[in-house]
């Protein structure tokens, strides 16, 4: 926190003699203020001689400005017409939309005027353009944007200014920058704090917002017991593996890739894209399936959605209907193996209810929802019956009883196009009509554990 301490010292010096213009004091100020001045140098690149608070500054115009952006600037200045700040971004975006061009645009704005006229509008425009350039998750870009504010001008100098929201528009603009950071879940760093303190002083609204971010974000950062990484695996098979292990609820499950995606050439010579099939099953589920009554069918239901941040993947489930109580078979437990008479050296049944007191009863007074057993799950590139039949065939190798059990497919009516996993996140307004028309069918028929209709 050296920078912060130097900052405070320099501020104190300024408080003592705000209007002193002696060269001696200027030297003192320049020495004291070198730390943050160097920050300013590195970001803007313009050689600035440090000035006293109300003195003018001299700046060096030797730094070259990119020619594409410079030419139009001069034209604009000559015409004295209003140049919208979106224009700058659009022109830069024609070449490429990435962090480098975004930074270039900000630098051009910084170099244009040392007083940074119109910086509030520029920052608002930049905030809107950030998602297009793909930099909304980059903390260095936010710091660069905060650097656009002229330093020390907005710091209140007495209690009246502090009371009356000194430079409210600029404070609101900085709060907007921090709010966009908050919306994307990006933690600010110490450079953000130093910048905010330099620009608005330690008691303004932006610094308070920063303090709130730094208080609440660490508390909620690890609140998710099932965290999803920001960078999901791109390969569909890896993604299927990740999501299946996530929903499996069992540590003993085994993931099997029944088919990798490949291009098949049929007899007629046309190429057909075969999808991937990834299945998951645990030994407990295998045992349950082995005990399944062959007269009852098993159902392949799906596709059910699973959301991982912004992507939705679909999985299919092999399950059976719940067994009615009259047909429930009581398992025969050998009293020598299980129960109070079991062997004490190799116990199969352990009653460890000792942590609960005699009077404690933490069960809820509700009937358990009767549901059928789930035997396996899978994710496939296409949701049609042929692909899923291949999955069942693959499952049959480890569960031979499947050969004798009738399998019924309860899939969604109509061809269901799965979302392409490599597709970037759709912007919120786009193709809503297509979704809406498809939505009513999907929404009305979607029941978590399928209705009574049987589709084949």
């Amino acid at each position: 926190m050296n920078t912060a301490r130097i900052l405070l010292r320099s501020q104190c010096v300024r408080c003592l003699a705000p209007f002193a213009r002696t060269t001696h004091l200027q030297a003192v100020l320049s020495n004291g203020g070198l730390a943050h001045c160097s920050l300013g140098l590195s970001s803007t690149g313009v050689q600035q001689v440090h000035r006293a608070f109300h003195a003018s500054s001299r700046y060096d115009k030797n730094q070259p400005v990119p020619s594409t952006l410079k030419g139009s600037e001069e034209d604009g200045n000559k015409d004295k017409s209003l140049v919208a700040h979106d224009d700058l971004f659009e022109r830069a975006g024609k070449e490429a939309k990435n962090k480098a061009t975004f930074n270039k645009v900000v630098e051009v704005f910084n170099k244009r005027d040392v007083r940074r006229r119109g910086h509030v509008e520029f920052i608002y425009a930049a905030l809107k353009k950030m998602p297009e350039f793909g930099v909304e998750r980059d903390i260095t870009v936010y710091n660069k944007l905060l650097d656009v504010f002229p330093k020390e001008v907005f710091v209140p100098r007495n209690f009246i200014q502090r009371m009356f929201n000194h430079y409210p528009r600029q404070q609101e603009c900085a709060v907007e920058v921090l709010e966009q950071m908050e919306n994307h879940g990006i933690m600010p760093n110490v450079e953000t704090k130093v910048l905010l303190v330099q620009i608005f002083g330690p008691k303004g609204h932006p610094v308070r917002k920063y303090q709130r971010l730094m208080y609440w974000f660490p508390k909620f950062k690890h609140a998710n017991p099932f965290p999803v990484p920001h960078q999901l695996p791109v390969d569909p098979v890896d993604l299927a593996r990740f999501s299946l292990t996530r929903i499996a609820n069992d540590m003993d499950t085994r993931v099997t890739v029944y088919q990798m995606p490949y291009t098949d050439i049929t007899e007629t010579g046309e190429e057909v894209q075969e999808p991937h099939i990834v299945g998951i099953q645990s030994p407990d589920q295998q045992a349950l399936l082995a005990k399944h009554n062959p007269n009852k069918p098993v159902f392949v239901e799906g596709p059910y959605p699973l959301w991982l941040r912004r992507t939705c993947v679909y999985y299919y489930v092999l399950k059976a209907d719940p067994v009615p109580p009259e047909e429930k078979v009581e398992e025969y437990m050998d009293p020598e193996l299980v129960g109070p008479q079991q062997s004490i050296h190799y116990p199969l049944w352990i009653d460890m209810d000792l942590q609960r007191d005699m009077g404690d009863d933490f069960s809820f007074n509700v009937d358990n929802v009767e549901e059928g057993a789930i035997y396996a799950m899978c994710m496939a590139g296409q949701g049609d019956q042929v692909t899923l039949a291949r999955w069942i065939a693959g499952l049959q190798e480890t569960n031979p009883i499947l050969g004798r059990i009738p399998t019924v497919f309860r899939l969604e009516s109509g061809p269901r196009e799965l979302q392409d996993l490599t597709e970037p996140q759709r912007p919120p307004g786009a193709d809503m009509e297509a979704e809406h028309s498809a939505e009513p069918d999907h929404v009305m028929e979607e029941q978590q554990l399928g209705g009574q209709r049987v589709k084949q």
Partner: protein, 299 residues
């Protein structure tokens, strides 16, 4: 200024009743509609007098009298069995209580469902009973395109909230869960993060939008998920903005509980709830998870 410009996450209101008409901010007599609630930009600001708001209908009056007298009779007779009809021993010794369960269509009447359609958005949300009338299914589509009214900036939320308990003659009744310290839910989501909002009974007018919230992370998948959240983890937020002065959620007058989805991922969603209960975890001794002292550190 900033608060009016940014869109706020509203507490759930029944579709259609949030269009409260407002009068002009000039001095208005006390019998006209007071200025409150959210005014959707573009709606006409009509002036409705008190007698225009009340529905004077004979059939409705008869129904109302019948219902309220029945409730009053219950209240008089239930106390001979025990508090609120529960035997006294059960009330004293219970360690878990089921607050809401979904057995039958009348259980859905206790819930209000709302989405950002009220502010002009395009999300849809529906509530229905799940399979075998045992669970409830909250499903719909989320769309985070903000409404183009020049004022709202963020959009895309769907909520479900329990209704306020009513005693006879529309008096407010509260849930008293002071002998418990953990909220227990049995849900089956699709991997989306939800937020649980608990509304409590407040004394001051300024506290009317105070909601205690915490996150509900669903795993997704076909298995039921038991979620246990201690009440000490709920933080205080007003109109969606987390507050600086935090205090513990007081359990003796809980009014409503709600679930909100606003995770900016456009597309269909669903949440299946089996039951909502409270239990007492004796191992949990925390009073409050967040700092209560004044936090205004000097830089």
């Amino acid at each position: 200024m900033a608060a009016s410009r940014t869109g706020r996450l509203l507490s759930a209101r029944l579709l259609g009743t949030s269009t409260k008409q407002l009068v002009w901010p000039s001095a208005s007599p006390f019998w006209s509609v007071p200025r409150r609630g959210y005014w959707r930009p573009g709606q006409p600001r009509e002036r409705k007098w008190l007698w225009q708001r009340i529905n004077f209908d004979f059939a409705k009056g008869v129904d109302g009298v019948r219902k309220n007298v029945g409730l009053l009779k219950d209240e008089f007779l239930q106390r001979w069995v025990g508090p609120e009809g529960k035997p006294l021993l059960e009330h004293m010794l219970e360690q878990t209580r089921v607050l809401w369960e979904f057995r039958g269509p009348e259980s859905l009447n206790q819930w209000l469902v709302s989405s950002d359609r009220e502010i002009g958005g395009r999300s849809e949300v529906y509530l229905k009973l799940g399979r075998n009338n045992n669970t409830c299914l909250l499903y719909g589509t989320l769309c985070s395109a903000p409404p183009r009214d020049g004022e709202t900036r963020y959009s895309g939320y769907c909520t479900m909230r329990s209704e306020q308990l009513r005693a006879s003659f529309d008096r407010k009744k509260h849930h008293d869960v002071s002998s418990f310290n953990t909220l227990h839910l049995r849900i089956r989501g699709d991997g989306r993060p939800w937020m649980i909002n608990i509304g409590v009974e407040n004394y001051f007018h300024h506290q009317r939008d105070d909601i205690y919230s915490y996150f509900l992370y669903t795993r997704g998948g076909p298995y039921w998920q038991d979620v246990k959240i201690p009440f000490s983890k709920f933080f205080l937020a007003t109109r969606g903005r987390i507050q600086d002065d935090q205090h513990c959620l007081l359990l003796d007058k809980m009014n409503t509980i709600g679930f909100t989805l606003g995770d900016k991922a456009d597309g269909p969603f669903q949440l299946e709830i089996d039951f909502i209960g409270v239990c007492n975890d004796p191992a949990h001794t925390e009073d409050f998870a967040y700092e209560v002292y004044k936090r205004n550190p000097e830089v």
